[in-house]
């Protein structure tokens, strides 16, 4: 299977860095545990934002609550990406060909695209909205999409080892 993977990913896996991750007693387990802990924080922050977009947690003005939760989500995402890169590097040539991993990457791209649509479109309708205001349909759609996408990303991540 290694033969079919892009050369750059084979080179990444076979690099000294890749070997170091596989051969270190603690690096792979630390990346593994760190990825899950970062996921827990990320999921919590995302849930707060999406529930607010869907109309829950209405005691706080939507943009204010979303911005607070978002800084936590960004920090957790950076940690997810960093630990994910370590885990990926150790087995790059196999993972690149894993169908569930490919779906997971596509879903992450979709999640980030949904975020961009929110940032440059949906959010404008929310600026200045008072606590308790009924949320516009565009916001509810963004929240529902976000929830669905990130849950699917997590499910794919857990399923990689089974395919």
């Amino acid at each position: 299977m290694t033969g079919e993977a892009p050369a750059i990913l084979v080179a990444l896996e076979e690099s000294g860095f890749g070997a170091a991750i596989r051969q270190s007693v603690w690096l792979f387990p630390v990346a593994n545990v760190g990825h899950i802990l970062a996921l827990a924080v990320f999921a919590g922050a995302i849930a707060i934002m999406d529930v607010r977009l869907l109309g829950g947690l209405a005691a706080t003005a939507p943009v204010r609550l979303i911005m607070r939760a978002r800084s936590v989500a960004i920090a957790a995402f950076v940690l997810l990406a960093a630990t994910g890169f370590l885990l990926f590097t150790a087995e790059a040539s196999h993972l690149a060909l894993n169908p569930v991993f490919q779906v997971k990457l596509a879903l992450i791209a979709a999640g980030l695209a949904n975020l961009a649509v929110f940032e440059f479109g949906v959010k404008r309708a929310l600026v200045g909205l008072a606590p308790g205001t009924i949320m516009p349909t565009s916001a509810k759609t963004a929240g529902l999409l976000s929830l669905a996408i990130w849950i699917a990303v997590a499910a794919c991540g857990r399923s990689i080892a089974y395919f």
């Binding site: 299977m1 070997a19 991750i21 596989r22 051969q23 270190s24 007693v25 690096l27 792979f28 387990p29 150790a90 087995e91 080892a161 089974y162 395919f163």
Partner: protein
């Protein structure tokens, strides 16, 4: 409340079991094999140590346990060194020909449980 906690505990245990056995889905537990021969190559690496074994004119890839479990069970890198004679009991892969996942290995008369 007690019922909810029991359900959550059961789920957590099931999840733990699934984690411990992850990846066994693509190995055929109904057709266990024993591969006996000399170790041709040996990788003591995460996520799983692997050896290749020459047996009956074939070269089997034998997937072992994560290195932390290997060492805690006494199966150090020296134990699975190239040239040693090994007997590996496990399940053949349904995806990759001549690959198997070892339930236990025996080297120098000592058996190491890997699950």
């Amino acid at each position: 409340m007690l019922r909810a906690m029991t359900a959550v505990t059961a789920l957590a245990l099931a999840g733990g079991a699934a984690f411990a056995h992850h990846g066994w889905g693509s190995y055929d537990a109904a057709k266990p094999v024993t591969v006996t021969g000399a170790i041709a190559t040996s990788k003591y690496e995460n996520p799983h140590a692997t050896i290749t074994v020459r047996s009956d004119g074939k070269v089997w890839t034998v997937t072992l346990a994560p290195t932390s479990r290997m060492s805690s069970r006494g199966a150090s890198a020296e134990v699975i060194a190239v040239g040693k004679s090994v007997s590996a009991y496990g399940y053949p892969s349904t995806a990759t020909p001549d690959e198997m996942r070892a339930e236990r290995i025996t080297i120098d008369g000592k058996t190491y449980e890997l699950r």
